[in-house]
Symmetry: C2
Subunit: 258 residues, 2 copies
DNA sequence: CTGTTAGCGCCTTCAA
DNA sequence: TTGAAGGCGCTAACAG
């Protein structure tokens, strides 16, 4: 009949148990002291009433939400899905909640997501920044004292932790091995979607021994490794051997092959 | 230097704007009346201080969190990933947050997840119940006035909304078409992992025209469709044509073929 | 060890 | 249209 949300509060439990709300809070929240006797009274009262703590109220006071926010590129991609699964496992093991958002590699979506997470008072964020250059919104987050861990890509100027793949080194090692085996025409298909250069231009840039690709997108970092391996082996580069799929998809790659 | 979280509150904004917290709240929360003049004062004060509303505090009062909780089987599976993506899109469009959890098709995980979501005061839940029979934990949720939408599988006794595939009909139609084309030995590989019957036993059960498979796991529902199509066509069933992969994986299916 | 008193940040009556 | 006062559910300081 009644349509109101029940909302059994700590006060209800305290009353039924015949103690103060403070004492009830101490046993239900598992902090501070409490005698065996009172403890049992409170627990059974809570049980009887079907009490569930209101984590919002608790967080409002403690300042901690036991929630971490994630800004992924696209939940649906196997890459992010597997990462999310790992994050989720660890979070659950530690009784943390997870608020997950997609950026679709779009900076405005990312900013929106970050704002939402901030307002929901997450304790920390895991972000895959879609633009290695522009990260003012992230700066304001760390400034607010909320830790950020970056995934896959990083905003260097942020100085926040980063978990990812050493793209340049990986590609370098793979290509170097092929070159060592005597191969000379090594093809590579990469996403290489964003970036202001043609392959020729990038080859020129990346051939400088001091070139740093750390702040580029992953596929360009890998191409840099490709270039370095060639330079070290003294093998000339041929732009015709590089395919730009412009998307991370099998179709895109297939298209480059044909 | 200071390590404290800044925490610009509505009070700070009100003071700077020279109005009461009530007025500041009205413009920042976009409710109630406010004069153009005050409104602008408040907004620029908020801007200057970098004010961000504390959604926890707001939710504590309003009783609504603009958050919906999801209990998926496994984020990482393409099936759930695509569903989550859709949910996420709609949620974002409506300024809702999403708390996502995995059940791993394990009832205890599911119960844990549901409890967490309840305590975080989600406004509603989307659940893929791992046991079509046992759903007491879900009953208590709807009893608390929190709407549930079920995905893929449903607890019938719950009487909650359900979104899914008509497994029986789909399998029935596919098999019926093959039979109509004259084929007689039609194989089927299904997960068929849970369930107390052997294939022979299930054939016997499902051959009854009145048999209802609604509360079974999806793969059994599909097998029911297979059986019905055969019955309607008067084609005898052969248990040897059914493979039980016992998992939703390519490997499992492949193994049945060999 | 326990109860009382204050709030957390915000919204919501209710007067003015 | 505005402000003052009260309270959401809970925890953090005190005294006792």
């Amino acid at each position: 009949m009644s349509k109101k949300k029940t909302g059994v509060t700590i006060t209800d439990v305290a009353r039924l148990a015949g103690v103060s709300t403070a004492t009830a809070g101490r046993v239900l929240g598992d902090y501070g002291y409490s005698s065996r006797e009172k403890r049992e009274k409170v627990l059974s009262a809570a049980q009887a009433l079907g009490y569930r703590p209101n984590l919002l109220a608790r967080s409002l006071i403690t300042g901690r939400t036991k929630t971490i926010g994630v800004v992924a590129g696209d939940i649906q991609s196997p890459f992010y899905a597997s990462i999310l699964r790992g994050i989720s496992n660890v979070a659950e093991r530690n009784d943390f909640g997870l608020i997950i958002t997609n950026s679709d590699e779009n900076i405005e979506h990312e900013i929106r997501s970050v704002r939402l997470l901030l307002e929901k008072q997450v304790d920390g964020m895991i972000v895959s920044p879609c633009d290695p250059e522009g990260g003012e919104h992230l700066v304001s987050v760390v400034a607010a004292g909320i830790p950020i861990v970056q995934i896959d890509r990083q905003v260097h100027s942020l100085g926040a932790d980063f978990v990812g793949v050493d793209n340049k080194q990986g590609a370098h090692d793979a290509v170097a091995r092929l070159l060592a085996q005597g191969h000379r025409r090594i093809g590579m298909i990469g996403e290489l979607g964003y970036g202001d250069w043609s392959i020729e231009e990038f080859f020129a840039l990346a051939s400088a021994p001091s070139y740093a690709s750390d702040s580029l997108y992953p596929s360009w970092q890998r191409l840099h490794g490709y270039v370095e391996a060639h330079r070290e082996a003294g093998v000339p580069l041929d732009p015709m051997l590089i395919g730009r799929s412009r998307s991370y998809s099998a179709q895109g790659a297939q298209h480059q092959v044909e």
